[in-house]
Structure formats: structure tokens, C-alpha cells
């Protein structure tokens, strides 16, 4: 299980509870009055879900598994198909929010060392944010955009400062009165410790997978303990 370093955050994201329904209800990520135990399995969420329209993902089914306390749902890669578009959240007649439920499931998954490959491209994001006060797209993501877009876009990105000053906009980097407020805040909430833990974990996982591959047996899940 995730260690002390991350527990500060986990306590809020994933409070210690017996059942998945309780975790969902108590997590800071979900609305106070989330109607998870009022779900009547009507399927309105699935009927309006873009992920259900284009993939095998089914929010009604995910909610059902949570209500049945089926912890294996956090190992199911299908939870990584949600767009967080909140259409289900708007439509649900029982004030449930499959969108928020999935957010909690992904946090549980990450805390178990599952699905780190879905977020590792963003591991440096916190540092950039602390430094600049502005989020920037992670290099891997940018690489994808560079492959996708034409040369004109890349030129624009290189000349961003010049473009901004032509539009009479100030520098992107924010002013912090010399305090490094953002870095200190994120250190105190436990954000950086958690990222460091996840990074270490991901490296261990890569090594284990490499060994497993060499032995002809690749693992998806890695628990460092």
C-alpha cells in the first residue's frame, strides 16, 4: 500500500473506509450529496456517455461494481476510458456522478501502483507549475502534438514570447514576491512527496517488468511491498 508520504493526500482523496461506496462518498473529489447508493441502474448515464458510444466502457456497469464492492474494478483498464465530460453527472436522475466515481477509482488504482503508465507523462508537471505558476503540456504530450500538427504550429510555439508581446501580453511566468509560494504550498500539502513516491514506484515497476519479460511473463500490476 501507499506509504506515509502519500497518506497525507490519500486521506482526503481516498479516506480509509470498509467499502467502495463509503470511499466514494467521503472522498474530497466527489460532491457532498453524491447519490451513489441511490443508483437505480436506469442506464441514463450509459445512454449519454461518449466513451460508451465509442468503446466497451459502461458507466452504469462501473457503478454497479462499486455498489457490489467489487475491488477488482480498480484493476480494470476500462476505467481509463472516461472523458470526464460530466454528461452522466448532468443526466443522472439520482444525483449520482459516474464521472466522479471513476475519478476516485483511478486514484485508488494509482495508489495500488496500477495505471501509473497512464499518468507518468505528467510527473514533471508539478515542478514546471511550481516554477512558472502556469501549467504547460508535458513533453510527451507535446511530442504527440508535434507529430500531429504542421510545422507552422511548431514555429508558433518557438516564438510564443514574441507572439505574446505583439498581442501586448505580459510574460507567462507569474510573479511571486520572491517567496516561492506555490512550491511551498505544494510541499506542505504532500504533493511533491507523493509524486516522488509514484516516480520511484514506476521505475521499480519498469525494472520488474523488464525482468518478467526476460523470463517470459509480463506483469501489469506492481505492488512494491
Amino acid at each position: 500500500m501507499i506509504e506515509e508520504a502519500t497518506e497525507k493526500i490519500s486521506g482526503y482523496e481516498i479516506p480509509e473506509c470498509e467499502t467502495l461506496v463509503e470511499i466514494v462518498k467521503k472522498s474530497l473529489r466527489t460532491s457532498d450529496n453524491i447519490g451513489i447508493d441511490r443508483c437505480m441502474q436506469c442506464g441514463a448515464c450509459t445512454a449519454s456517455c461518449p466513451a460508451a458510444r465509442f468503446t466497451d466502457y459502461n458507466p452504469r456497469q462501473v457503478v454497479k461494481r462499486v455498489m457490489e464492492n467489487d475491488f477488482s474494478v480498480i484493476e480494470d483498464k476500462i476505467i481509463w476510458n472516461c472523458f470526464y465530460c460530466y454528461t452522466c453527472h448532468l443526466r443522472c436522475p439520482r444525483n449520482n456522478s459516474p464521472s466522479q466515481v471513476v475519478q476516485v477509482l483511478r486514484q485508488l488504482s494509482i495508489n495500488e501502483g496500477i495505471g501509473l503508465d497512464k499518468i507518468d507523462m505528467l510527473f514533471e508537471y508539478g515542478n514546471v507549475f511550481a516554477e512558472m505558476g502556469v501549467s504547460t503540456l508535458p513533453p510527451l504530450y507535446l511530442q504527440q502534438m508535434k507529430n500531429d500538427f504542421d510545422k507552422r504550429w511548431f514555429e508558433f510555439k518557438k516564438n510564443l514570447d514574441a507572439v505574446r508581446s505583439e498581442l501586448e501580453l505580459g510574460p507567462i511566468k507569474i510573479r511571486e514576491n520572491g517567496h516561492h509560494e506555490i512550491r511551498i504550498i505544494l510541499e506542505e500539502t504532500g504533493f511533491f512527496e507523493r509524486i516522488e513516491r509514484l516516480k520511484k514506484w514506476q521505475t521499480q515497476k519498469r525494472i520488474q517488468n523488464k525482468v518478467a519479460r526476460e523470463m517470459g511473463n509480463e506483469t501489469y500490476r506492481t505492488n512494491p511491498e
Binding site: S135, Y141, Q144, W153, I174, H179, G190
Partner: protein, 312 residues
């Protein structure tokens, strides 16, 4: 439901947005241009950080850290006397509202965050309960424009008659805090109303009007194929509706449509002949802004030259 009469025209902090700053800086210069002409009392702070929404919905940022960062920005807004936080991005809007609601209603979170501030010597950041209201202090620029449609119509310098326009209302504006939408969240009309005030020919309904843009935060990267299928479906329905211009209210949606339209044309073997703008760019253009020096259309992937030349 929020009402038009509630929309303020003063004390507005124009909340800077990472994807505007990095991808479509013209949205910010257009917003300030339009606000100047509409006599909106606003402020842009060089201390305000972005909302962490991108990291939050990538499952990386946690709610506590996101709320603490929001509290710092709220302090900046209040200190400067501009407590009406107004965003150009739908995710900033939703993230800030949720953070404010937590700070007001969840004592444990408020105490925890305030103790972090106190310990670090950041006393000026401490959040006092109910010093901001999660409904009355949070707006999107399209709401500000909605409160000024008469003025926008009167100042409009461009003949938009015959220009077929379709709106994409961003999910994180009307589907998260649906109780606070101006109008019916099942069929929001904010962009449509602003566009109509300038005489455009608005397409009232098109198939897939409420479908997400397809960006889905990590989806564009980890499930690229599905992400583009969603965007393709929407672009196809707009093609059937025969539009000239699609209007946005979120830079992430705009990336997905404007930057990915040429990619989808190539990968799905299709062709689209419409262009994209943010509602701020549209209003600024209508009020006489220079398409390059203010609206920053040069940073778009789908070129607007032909469209702009066709306007009188």
C-alpha cells in the same frame, strides 16, 4: 439557476488560463479588448497562477492541493479588490467554483489549508469562510458578454448576415455545476445569444450538439483513436449542418477542434470548410479588433484568411 441580472460589470478578475497563455494568447488580448469597449471594470494579475485543472483531470493533482492553490488565487483577487473571478476556460470555472465551495463548507479542509499558510508565514493568503461565494463570485467571460448583448449589437462593426454559426458550449461549464448555468443546462444558449446579437445566422440545433469535444484530458494521449473518433463525429454533424464558423468557450475544446481538424481530415479522409474562434475573439472582432494584432488568429491551425476576407 443564475440570472442575467446577477452578472456583474465591475470588480472582475480576468482569470488567466494555461491553455490560453500557451496555445491561443489571442483569446486573452481579445477579452481585454472587448472588456475595454464594453466598459467592464476588470483586472489582470501577474501574481495569479493557473488553476491546476489540467493536472487535476489528468488524475495527478489531488483535491487538497488544487484547493490550496485556488485559495492563493482567491486572496489575490480579494486583495486587489476584484473578487468576481471570470474565466476564459470552462475547466478553470469549474475548478474554482468547487474549491470555493469546499473552502466555505468543509471546515477540515479550510483549517488544514489555513494552517499551511500560517506556518509558511503567508498570512495574507488565509481564507475566511464565506469571504467569496461559490455562485456569486464566479463567472465565465461568455456570461459577461451575455449581460452586454445590446451594447455588443450596437457597437458591432461587421455585417455577419448569412454567416452560419454553431456553438459548442463546453462540458465543464454547464455539466458540472449545472444548477448555476444561465438558462437550461440541457440546452444552453449563451454563445448563440451573443452570436445572434451581432446578426449571425445561428444554427439552433445540430446532431451531437451536446457531445464532448473528445479531448478528455488524458484521453487525447492515452486513447488517441477514441478521442479523435468523438471529435470526428461532432465535426461530421457540423458539416451536415452547413456551418461557416464554430464558436467555443474553452481553449481545450478549441485545441481539439481547431488543431485537430486538419489531422482528422487527413486520417479520416474528409474535408471541412469551417473555422473556429473563442467567443472572446468573436466579440472582439465584431467590435473592431485587428484579426492579427488583437485576435491572434495567426496562431490557429485552421486558417481564417478566406473567412475573414468574406466578411464585409
Amino acid at each position: 439557476m443564475k440570472h442575467i441580472e446577477q452578472i456583474p460589470n465591475k470588480g472582475i478578475l480576468l482569470f488567466k488560463t494555461c491553455m490560453v497563455s500557451n496555445e491561443y494568447p489571442g483569446i486573452e488580448s481579445s477579452s481585454t479588448y472587448a472588456f475595454d469597449r464594453l466598459d467592464i471594470d476588470y483586472f489582470v494579475s501577474d501574481e495569479q497562477s493557473c488553476c491546476t485543472g489540467l493536472g487535476f483531470y489528468f488524475d495527478l493533482f489531488d483535491q487538497l492541493s488544487t484547493t490550496a492553490i485556488a485559495a492563493r488565487n482567491f486572496a489575490i483577487a480579494k486583495k486587489n479588490g476584484y473578487p468576481n473571478i471570470t474565466t476564459m476556460c470552462s475547466t478553470c470555472y469549474a475548478i474554482n467554483k468547487k474549491a470555493c465551495s469546499l473552502l466555505n463548507k468543509n471546515e477540515e479542509v479550510r483549517t488544514k489549508i489555513n494552517s499551511i499558510f500560517k506556518q509558511a508565514g503567508f498570512d495574507d493568503l488565509i481564507y475566511e469562510q464565506n469571504s467569496l461565494d461559490q455562485v456569486d463570485n464566479f463567472y465565465h467571460v461568455v456570461e459577461i458578454f451575455l449581460g452586454k448583448t445590446k451594447r455588443i449589437g450596437a457597437l458591432n462593426r461587421i455585417d455577419f448576415s448569412g454567416v452560419r454559426v454553431a456553438a459548442h458550449h463546453a462540458c465543464h461549464y454547464y455539466k458540472i455545476h449545472y444548477d448555476d448555468v444561465i438558462g437550461n443546462p440541457e440546452n444552453p444558449q449563451l454563445i448563440d445569444t451573443v452570436a445572434k446579437s451581432c446578426g449571425t445566422d445561428v444554427v439552433e440545433w445540430y446532431e451531437d450538439r451536446t457531445l464532448t469535444c473528445g479531448a478528455g484530458f488524458s484521453q487525447r494521449h492515452i486513447n488517441r483513436e477514441t478521442s479523435l473518433k468523438v471529435t470526428h463525429a461532432k465535426l461530421e454533424s457540423l458539416k451536415s449542418a452547413g456551418i461557416d464558423l464554430m464558436l467555443h468557450m474553452c481553449p481545450n475544446c478549441q485545441i481539439q477542434y481547431d488543431r485537430y481538424q486538419p489531422v482528422i481530415e487527413k486520417e479520416f479522409g474528409t474535408k471541412y470548410d469551417f473555422v473556429h474562434m473563442h467567443i472572446s475573439q468573436f466579440v472582439a472582432l465584431a467590435l473592431g479588433a485587428d484579426p492579427d494584432k488583437v485576435c491572434g488568429f495567426g496562431t490557429h491551425s485552421v486558417r481564417l484568411d478566406d473567412f475573414l476576407n468574406s466578411l464585409k
